[in-house]
């Protein structure tokens, strides 16, 4: 198998899901499974309406952390490639925040690795969300369920 494709980006701009998928499939016919996950800004946080979301990150460490997480996925599953894109800055409800895409000859590796990437990204990549609500802006609290989801993959 040729060296897997790895594309990691931390960016303010939106991304095009179809174009990102093409990175993994273009010019080859051996990909049997392409899984994508797109995270979007919800218009509610619990019971509270959310009108905007500011995403702060740690330039330098963010790119490093996402690359390490993606390399872990490539080491654990027989993948032909992985794409991880995370946006920062001011986002509005329904905007895309994050994209994970994985390609593999068979679906199990693609599904599992995409889930792994999201679980690890949520607990290890240095991003912080601040929601704008009718009562003002508030930092989003980390969720214990995210830690539990990441823990089931073991330590890296």
């Amino acid at each position: 198998m040729a060296a897997p494709v790895l594309h990691v980006s931390v960016q303010e701009a939106d991304f095009d899901v179809a174009a990102e998928c093409a990175r993994l499939t273009e010019g080859r016919a051996d990909v049997g499974a392409l899984v994508t996950f797109t995270g979007l800004v919800r218009d509610r946080g619990g019971d509270v309406p959310v009108s905007a979301m500011e995403l702060e990150h740690y330039p330098g460490m963010t790119e490093k952390a996402l690359t390490e997480i993606a390399e872990q996925a490539l080491a654990r599953w027989p993948l032909q490639g992985a794409v991880v894109i995370h946006r920062y800055g001011l986002l509005l409800p329904a905007d895309r925040i994050v994209l994970v895409a994985t390609a593999s000859p068979h679906r199990q590796a693609a599904f599992e690795s995409a889930e792994f990437l999201m679980d690890w990204l949520k607990t290890r990549a240095p991003f912080w969300k601040k929601e704008t609500t009718p009562d003002g802006a508030r930092w989003v609290d980390a969720r214990e369920s995210d830690d539990a989801a990441a823990a089931r993959w073991g330590r890296g």
Binding site: R124, P126, F127, V140
Partner: protein, 81 residues
């Protein structure tokens, strides 16, 4: 040493970065020194169970040694994705 703050730690301290002269042997010792700098610092480090850290852009526990670290960052648990 460069010290960076993110999210509500940055807001409480009133700055995203500062240069610090220190010989603190561990992150925990550095936190004690930073706490004394201002009321904002004290407030930011009030509850250490809500503070995470990185040394030279690698996640680190608060008892981690600092050795010759060039950049230390403090931030709340991450909430990306």
């Amino acid at each position: 040493m460069r010290v960076l703050y993110f999210a509500w730690l940055r807001e409480r301290i009133g700055a995203g970065r500062e240069e610090v002269e220190t010989s603190a042997p561990t992150l925990a010792a550095l936190v004690e020194e930073l706490r004394a700098r201002s009321e904002g610092h004290a407030l930011a480090f009030d509850d250490l169970s809500a503070v995470r850290a990185a040394v030279d852009q690698e996640a680190a526990e608060l008892d981690a040694p600092l050795r010759n670290a060039r950049e230390v960052a403090f931030f709340p648990p991450v909430t990306g994705g």
